[in-house]
């Protein structure tokens, strides 16, 4: 199945990445080649195989509910592109919460 530039545009939109027309034209065939190369993966694994999400069989790793020092607001905000009133300043938001 070929990945079209429209597909790539939709995915880039989901991933919030602005792509130029040139990039869309270039990425679509590149990504298509990669997807074709990985396609065999879906053939090898039978339905009886348990998918593996973690390399280790660890469970129940918990932290005690004990407060640890936070950063100072100055530290938290130091690297922000824009700050106002000790808050992070973001350009106006168009969409509503997901």
């Amino acid at each position: 199945m070929a990945l079209t530039t429209a597909d790539v545009a939709r995915l880039a939109d989901l991933a919030r990445i602005e792509l130029s027309a040139e990039e869309l034209e270039r990425f679509a065939p590149e990504l298509d080649i990669v997807l074709a190369a990985v396609a065999s993966v879906s053939e090898v694994a039978g339905s009886d195989v348990t998918p593996m999400s973690h390399a280790l069989a660890l469970t129940n790793v918990f932290r005690d509910d004990v407060v640890r020092p936070s950063l100072t607001p100055a530290q938290a905000l130091a690297m922000a592109p824009a700050v106002e009133d000790d808050r992070f300043r973001a350009p106006r938001i168009l969409t509503e919460e997901g």
Binding site: V67, S70, R89, P91, I93, G98
Partner: protein
């Protein structure tokens, strides 16, 4: 505002189906995945760290107490507890989320398949619980600009103090067959959850503070059709009244649409305190959250012994406790309803009774004088600053005749001012009632002399007129007279 159909008419033509998603913020000491202070509020961005700010390289570690709370909530809702489950990432971009994914649970919730019975006016309704899962809250946005709302704002400011607060999401299965009682049962369910959270000690559950928020789903189907219609989802409804109001409104709005042959759009809606809802973003194309198991966290495996240990910590179910205490205290239904309606009062009355007071007197103080003071200051009863033991102490002085109810109020003033024990305050403020016949007799004589017409009425047998004389004497003695003795003396002198 859209057209609304008369509620009763909707009920004649349609069956509503209800679904409730409730988010509960836990009151753990720390956040869900980091050690930051989890108490609400505070100066902006004072409760953040590399983890809850989503700094590059940071990693989450699960708060064990939050998992225990999740399991206890599930058990209290008669759920199964998953013997093995994972966290999952819910991927979407929003500026109040520091990682642009929410660490949540997807197809493996920690608790599932529960139910709860809700009593409304003598009827019992069973609400099936689909799942209880763990996730994290987001930061707080402030929209700068004229409206203060998202639309029309020039820019937004973000405070991440709340980012990472443990959230429990409690989701019902579709609830059918409630008919016209749908909004009322929804409200009662919310009240039940709130009470349960407080009893479990896992959340402050104050809806007005956003500790507990409800997304209310409702749809209509033609009467008797046994299908599910298209639903709307009213987001973040934050009071009991609003839950009921939003559902009533949505039922009437959808009824009008369907009756007019239009279709209901599947969308999120916003509730307005004035009693209506407005559309949010429509979900024509469902959001693709690209869930996958959170690789930075290992699975949670709740073994049977751990679950049983937690089950043993469950409090008596609130309804059962209420019934038990009502019987023990001998309260009429109406009296008990006042107790139930005042958050925290049942615990305070119980503690006051334990400290030696009668149930009736404990109820009288907490729901009267002290509730009035809490209301004036806009605080919870438990925060009023007087302990159950102190209330019992005050009542002991009343019972002994040392003070009367009126003087008791001055004792509470003294307690709130930190002037010592009730006994010390009575002594220091000179609050003990006067029952000495010499002093009272002189006051009675003076009152009879000052009000000869009243005295004559009493002599003529109109005993109830004594009240006027008693009032005058009490006023003159600034409330410190033993009213019963004064009455006796008046009647003796005028008989």
């Amino acid at each position: 505002m859209s057209d609304l159909m008369d509620y009763d008419e909707v009920m004649e033509r349609f069956d509503p189906a209800l679904g409730l998603e409730v988010h509960v913020e836990l009151n753990t000491a720390t956040k869900m995945f980091c050690g930051c202070d989890n108490t609400p509020g505070g100066e902006p961005n004072t409760k953040t760290c590399p983890v809850c700010l989503g700094l590059p390289g940071s990693l989450p570690v699960v708060n064990g107490k939050a998992v225990e709370s999740a399991i206890r909530i599930g058990l209290a809702l008669n759920c199964q507890v998953a013997s093995w489950c994972r966290f999952a990432r819910k991927n979407y971009f929003y500026p109040d989320m520091t990682k642009n994914f929410q660490t949540s649970q997807y197809d493996e919730p920690i608790c599932f398949d529960g139910h709860v019975n809700i009593d409304v006016d003598g009827e019992t309704y069973r609400i099936d619980i689909e799942r209880v899962h763990m996730e994290e809250d987001a930061g707080k946005l402030t929209h700068a600009g004229v409206t203060g709302r998202i639309h029309g704002a020039d820019y937004s400011l973000v405070d991440y103090n709340r980012a990472g607060t443990p959230l429990m999401e409690i989701v019902t299965r579709p609830i059918l067959g409630l008919g016209e009682r749908t909004p009322v049962v929804a409200r009662a369910y919310m009240a039940h959850l709130r009470e349960l959270m407080v009893a479990l000690g896992v959340s402050d559950a104050r809806m007005e503070a956003g500790n507990m928020r409800c997304d209310a789903n409702v749809s209509l189907a033609p009467k008797g059709a046994h299908v599910l219609g298209t639903r709307s989802e009213t987001k973040n409804v934050n009071s009991l009244k609003a839950v009921e109001g939003a559902l009533r409104h949505e039922i009437r709005r959808q009824g009008a649409l369907l009756a007019a042959g239009e279709r209901v759009i599947q969308e999120t809606r916003h509730w307005h305190e004035e009693g209506w809802t407005s559309p949010g973003r429509s979900k024509e194309e469902a959001e693709d959250y690209r869930y996958f198991p959170e690789p930075d966290l290992v699975p949670v495996a709740a073994g049977a012994s751990w679950v049983e240990q937690l089950r043993a910590t469950l409090p008596e179910p609130p309804a059962q406790r209420r019934a038990r205490l009502q019987a023990a205290w001998g309260f009429a239904d109406l009296e008990m309803r006042d107790v139930t309606g005042t958050p925290g009062s049942i615990d305070l009355i119980e503690a006051t009774v334990t400290a030696g007071a009668s149930a009736a007197s404990a109820r009288k103080w907490w729901l009267g004088e002290l509730a009035r003071r809490a209301n004036e200051r806009g605080i919870e009863l438990a925060e009023v600053g007087v302990s159950a033991a102190q209330v019992a102490g005050v009542q002991r002085l009343v019972d002994a005749g040392t003070i009367n109810d009126k003087l008791a109020r001055a004792v509470f003033d003294g307690l709130l001012a930190g002037e010592g024990t009730p006994d010390e305050i009575v002594a220091a403020r000179g609050l003990a009632v006067v029952s000495d016949d010499g002093a009272l007799g002189a006051a009675v004589d003076a009152a009879i002399a000052a009000h000869p017409d009243v005295a004559q009425k009493i002599r003529d047998g109109k005993v109830q007129a004594a009240g006027a004389l008693i009032g005058a004497i009490m006023k003159q003695m600034r409330g410190k007279a033993d009213a019963a003795r004064v009455r006796q003396l008046i009647l003796e002198k005028l008989s």
